[in-house]
Symmetry: C2
Subunit: 328 residues, 2 copies
């Protein structure tokens, strides 16, 4: 498709790709100064936003445009899942070079629309401008039943620590993307996970609505770093057993352990449960057998983070996940 | 102040600069996966976002850091004012180079906090990351009484066109900033307007709550372009008399006319009023004598935009305001 003539034409092109959902979430969408949204009685509004920047969060030549579109929304929605809420609508801020307003933009909007439909999160509005490199910012508006949101700060000593999915899988997918020949069968799941992550909305809602989780966070920067954030917010420590995590396949044991603890971009849920709720959790998850949930450790007094290694001794768990102001 | 050690320290530094407002707008602020906000019964939620990018919207060496902080929030809040609503809280997305996380960030946060207090718009959360140039995105959440929002699409033939303030003043301020010696007395007002614009929240609320405006938009890209947007959304044309606009002082008549019609960044309100409401408007504005409001033209049938020039003849009004995908 040809590049648009001006900003109005660019906006109209985006509008056409996002017909209003049947849900009629919004009273006023694109094309005015702002969007109008009627909140539901009995619910609180969840507000969150996420950067998705070229060369930081994706590489233009390596990541397909439609994966960029999918992932920028999925990772922002993951923060809503981590509160136990459901997404309702989002604002798209898009800065891009003029030469990307044709084919690349088409692919991007295709992926974004697929994510919007899959996650039931409607495009409410946004802002477009021109820049040498692609910058994307997504603000998501969600809802959660009043008083039901699960915070990071509710973990107490003795609570059990659980994580969904296969931590490190997305990081493995990124490694495979960088290698040639990443189409091998064993790689497909991990590559899919890296390119098209699925925020755990139904699991988060189950844990919130049934009062099962005492604290919750999504694993976006790596298990070690996000566990540290949850513990800091709760004023507690933790001890985990990396051996209890699902084993990443097709790579060495050492590499697998490193990715599972420190790999980013999984968008799985890390949560704590009171010991007396363990049976309740097990029962609830039985009717919810879509994704694995692993018991990996326990919340402790103090503020230390430790892990039980293969020899059965404990050592300090270092926070080695992604930090834009520390790493590189 | 020294640069922060990691992202957590950077976030804590931002938190300390934004103590919670007494209004207690938010149930949960910074430091969790997302913010939680209890909407007021009887109100609709307004959602809007705006880019503020280095080299597009500001120049690091020319614009003081605290003006960047003020203006990024003020221009996003202006979209809420243009609906007739009031801002409630905002999300700050900030990408910046590590070397700006000390003194520059301090100045930026000082200006941002001043704006947040002046505009009664509380920091709810956000996202920080690292980038070579400064990118800012602000998402504002506001409220408006149910059914009272003023849209762009309500103008009808015969409605009268009004604009607040002195269109072109901010563009004049930018020209003076680029020149040396901009400290001359005549320049101060315009420079202030360019660096620290004030969105017209009380005026917008007055026009919405009293049912005075049939359509409204904020003048952000230039009067000619924003009038065209309002007319397009309403399916109407307009004829305006540039001679009815307040005269910009200290520059040639031709230059003043050009800036008044096409200069951006004013964040004034452009609105239409039914002829039978003109006396009501006049009366309401009498008790509201803070900013000038000028009657500048009329909405017409068709879709043409025209202006009455100094000779009394009409000619086409060209849309020559700012457009990132057309200009340069």
């Amino acid at each position: 498709m040809k590049n648009p003539r001006d900003e109005n034409e660019l906006i109209r092109r985006i509008e056409r790709r996002f017909p209003a959902l049947k849900s009629k979430v919004l009273r006023l969408r694109l094309g005015d100064d702002a969007a109008l949204w009627p909140p539901r009685p009995g619910y609180e509004t969840i507000l969150t936003c996420d950067w998705f920047l070229e060369d930081s969060h994706f590489i233009r030549g390596e990541h397909p445009a439609d994966a960029v579109g999918w992932k920028c929304l999925a990772r922002a929605v993951s923060d809503v899942a981590a509160m136990g809420g459901e997404p309702r609508c989002f604002l798209l801020s898009l800065a891009l070079p003029v030469e990307l307003t044709g084919k690349w933009l088409d692919g991007f909007l295709r992926g974004l629309r697929r994510a919007a439909q899959a996650l039931r999160c409607e495009l409410a509005g946004g802002d477009t401008t021109r820049q040498e490199r692609v910058s994307i910012n997504i603000a998501v508006i969600g809802e959660v039943k009043r008083g039901r949101a699960v915070l990071r700060s509710g973990a107490r000593p003795g609570d059990l620590v659980f994580v969904s999915g296969i931590p490190g899988e997305a990081a493995l997918g990124l490694e495979l993307l960088k290698e040639a020949g990443s189409t091998q069968r064993r790689a497909r799941g991990a590559l899919q996970k890296h390119l098209y992550p699925e925020p755990r909305i139904p699991l988060g809602q189950l844990l919130a609505n049934e009062g099962l989780a005492s604290a919750m966070i999504d694993v976006s920067d790596g298990l070690s770093s996000d566990l540290a954030r949850l513990c800091e917010a709760s004023g507690v420590g933790a001890v985990i057993a990396p051996g209890a995590l699902p084993r990443l396949k097709g790579i060495s044991e050492a590499k697998a352990a490193q990715l599972a603890l420190n790999g980013g971009d999984d968008y799985e849920l890390l949560f704590t449960v009171k010991p007396q709720e363990r049976r309740h959790l097990k029962k609830s998850l039985r009717t919810f057998n879509k994704i694995p949930v692993s018991f990996i450790g326990e919340i402790t007094k103090g503020t230390k983070l430790r892990m039980v290694n293969a020899e059965g001794t404990t050592e300090e768990l270092l926070q080695s996940g992604w930090d834009p102001f520390r790493n590189r």
